[in-house]
């Protein structure tokens, strides 16, 4: 009787450049892997929930948020360290993801995406029978 151990597949997430024009801000992300899913957390302060657009197709994940400028100030800036604009970031996900079960949540300026792995690639525990 042979024992076959299932190795968890390595999830590689590589960035892709986008070629569209206009100014976009690239949100900082944390990406980590749990046994059943990939989790992506992106810092996107100032975005509105209904203006966030997430697409996953053919292994490409696209995060896009349209922001209306909120810095319509009533006067000159004495300091301006950042701008306000759309967020955009895209990733190539080589992990097998069940797209129909992707979920997203946006709170306190952070977008959290759960990308569940397809059943086939989850590490499966093999029961060892004794005789």
């Amino acid at each position: 009787m042979t024992l076959e151990a299932t190795m968890p597949q390595e999830a590689a997430v590589s960035p892709t450049e986008h070629t569209r024009g206009g100014s976009y801000y690239r949100p900082n992300v944390d990406i980590f892997e749990l046994p059943g899913e990939l989790v992506v957390k992106a810092d996107m302060p100032g975005a509105k929930m209904d203006e966030i657009d997430i697409q996953f197709e053919d292994g490409s994940l696209v995060i896009h948020a349209h922001l209306t400028t909120r810095q319509d100030t009533q006067g000159p800036f004495s300091r301006k360290e950042y701008g306000v604009g759309d967020y955009y970031r895209t990733f190539r996900v080589s992990e097998q993801i069940d797209a129909s079960r992707i979920s997203a949540e946006y709170t306190a300026g952070i977008l959290t995406l759960h990308l569940p792995k397809t059943e086939a690639v989850k590490p499966r525990k093999i029961q060892v029978e004794g005789k």
Binding site: A11, A12, V13, N28, V29, D30, I31, F32, E33, L34, L38, V39, K41, D43, M44, P45, G46, A47, K48, R70, Q71, S78, R79, Y82, A108, G109, I110
Partner: protein
């Protein structure tokens, strides 16, 4: 004054005003899972402090602060002493 503090809760923010000096302190705790494998780690965690010299003195009792979607917005009305006061010029007729 506006600053971006995603993931920081209102109770973890400490905003103080003394004269024309504004201090914003806060902490963001790690909301990830320690047992997981990170493929990318760009977001910081931990404490931060920022001290800013404001262009004029403000009235600390009238400062308003709001936190929405990770954006902290402070409205700091200028102190009375800092507001420009119009001086009336009296013309003397002889």
């Amino acid at each position: 004054m506006e600053t971006e503090v995603p993931g920081v809760k209102a109770e973890e923010l400490d905003v103080t005003v003394v004269g024309n000096e504004l201090t914003v302190k806060g902490t963001r705790s790690d909301d990830g899972t320690e047992k997981s494998v990170y493929h990318r780690r760009e977001r910081g965690t931990g404490s931060f402090t920022r001290v800013v010299a404001l262009p004029s003195e403000v009235n600390p009792d009238a400062v308003k602060a709001s936190l929405t979607d990770g954006v902290l917005l402070l409205t700091l009305p200028k102190a009375e002493t800092a507001k420009p006061r119009k001086i009336k010029v009296n013309t003397e007729t002889k």
